[in-house]
């Protein structure tokens, strides 16, 4: 599996916040999701990975190259959608595209206007008259219109209604469909991006708490609802987040595969039931455990 982006032991210090030794590898053709609460360091990490702010120590290589030697070449191949896109507010959408085009070697105007049409953004409008969601889509259209091989998005669904959010998710899936292009997306999770991400990283307080293939992660984390006293003691003791209620208790396990046999009796007797855990459940539990 080819690595498209590789970070090694990255650190970055702000006065009140640090990235504390981040290492990650993003596979070509994947959708990589970086999830975490506000203030976890998602935006800082994204900015370091796209070389918009310098890091203190560590290395970043994109497409096998370093920014130090190949910055213009790398940046040409990255489509970036910032959390809060900055535009000249008094200018039109069309002016914005003309302004941006010379910065990219492979600008494709017809692709851009086709996307605007799909997103129902009027090219003649002044940017200040677009809604927050439309500005986000304008930023996405720009990022998708210069032949990028890697799309990096920071909280891309913020401000989008459900229709445009769905359009964005479909667009991201289509972007990676041929297996050559890659998406890295940072998000606080509850917005559908957890659906499409394949590799997930949980970030908390400037560190990576978890990195795993999403399917693997979801297959080992399960909610177990159980009748009080129905589970073997050893199993119950290993559950996290146990909530005791009058009509049945519940707890999370992150080792469902190992516990499966021990749960079989209670499951067959109807004294225990299983429920999938969401990425949000898992992230919250891990943050709490820190």
């Amino acid at each position: 599996m080819e690595t498209i982006l590789e970070a090694r032991a990255l650190t970055k210090d702000y006065e009140d916040f640090s990235l504390r030794g981040i290492s990650l590898e993003v596979r070509r053709g994947s959708i990589a999701g970086i999830f975490g609460p506000n203030g976890a360091g998602k935006s800082t990490l994204i900015k370091v990975l796209t070389h918009q702010v310098p890091h203190r120590t560590g290395t970043v290589r994109v497409f096998g190259q370093s920014y130090e030697e190949h910055e213009p070449g790398i940046k040409n191949r990255i489509g970036y959608v910032p959390q809060e896109p900055a535009f000249y507010m008094d200018r039109s959408v069309r002016w914005t595209a003309r302004f941006a085009a010379p910065y990219f070697a492979n600008w494709d105007g017809s692709c851009f206007y086709k996307l605007l049409d799909d997103f129902k953004v009027n090219p003649l409008r002044q940017v200040k008259h677009l809604s927050g969601g439309q500005r986000k889509l304008l930023s996405l259209a720009l990022a998708l219109s210069h032949g990028a091989d890697l799309l990096v998005l920071d909280e891309p669904t913020a401000g989008l209604d459900i229709v445009y959010r769905r359009a964005l998710l479909d667009r991201l899936r289509a972007f990676v469909a041929d297996g050559d292009r890659t998406v890295i997306v940072a998000s606080h999770i509850t917005d559908g991006l957890d659906e499409i991400a394949e590799d997930v990283w949980f970030l908390n307080d400037g560190r990576i708490v978890t990195h795993e293939d999403k399917d693997e992660l979801l297959s080992r984390w399960k909610w177990i609802h159980f009748r009080e006293g129905a589970l073997p003691r050893a199993v119950e003791d290993r559950l996290k987040n146990v909530r005791r209620q009058p009509f049945g208790s519940s707890g999370l396990t992150d080792e469902f595969c190992e516990l499966r046999d021990e749960l079989a009796t209670a499951l067959a007797a109807g004294d225990a039931r299983l429920e999938n855990a969401s990425l949000e459940d898992i992230l919250l539990t891990q943050i709490k455990e820190e």
Partner: protein, 136 residues
């Protein structure tokens, strides 16, 4: 007889609506004896709070149970398990077992597993010490 504690859990991933999961599980509790005739059911509020669903969901479940004759609701007193005919409970469960068996028999014929195989497996399972197959 000491009634076992009521165990109800409503799962969003279950294809059945919440109120139906509740009625089915209460029927099961009556069938297994966890709830006996005359036992008082938790109040709507108690159950809706514990299960984190709206009172409307539980009210609907209780209403259905009452319509089907499983419980009786007395204004101001609460809901109580009715004197349910054990045969009705058995018939209901038999229907579920039948549906499961149909699935097993069809799976079997699709993958070349004969009825004899299935019967042999069933006997084997019955001999397994129920409730203690985890430790061995």
């Amino acid at each position: 007889m000491q009634a076992k504690q009521l165990f109800i859990s409503l799962l969003p991933s279950n294809p059945d609506p919440m109120y139906k999961q509740a009625t089915d599980q209460i029927k099961d509790a009556i069938a297994t004896g966890d709830l006996g005739p005359g036992d008082r059911l938790p109040s709507v509020r108690e159950l809706s709070e514990a299960l984190k669903v709206s009172a409307i969901t539980i009210k609907r479940a209780y209403l259905d149970l009452e319509t089907e004759g499983y419980i009786l609701t007395r204004a101001g007193l609460g809901s109580f398990v009715a004197d349910v005919d054990r045969n009705i409970l058995r018939e209901r469960k038999l229907g579920e077992v039948r549906a499961e068996m149909r699935r097993i028999v069809r799976t079997g014929s699709k993958f070349g597993i004969t009825l004899d195989d299935i019967i042999r497996l069933t006997r084997q399972l019955e001999r397994e010490p129920y409730g203690d197959d985890s430790g061995s």
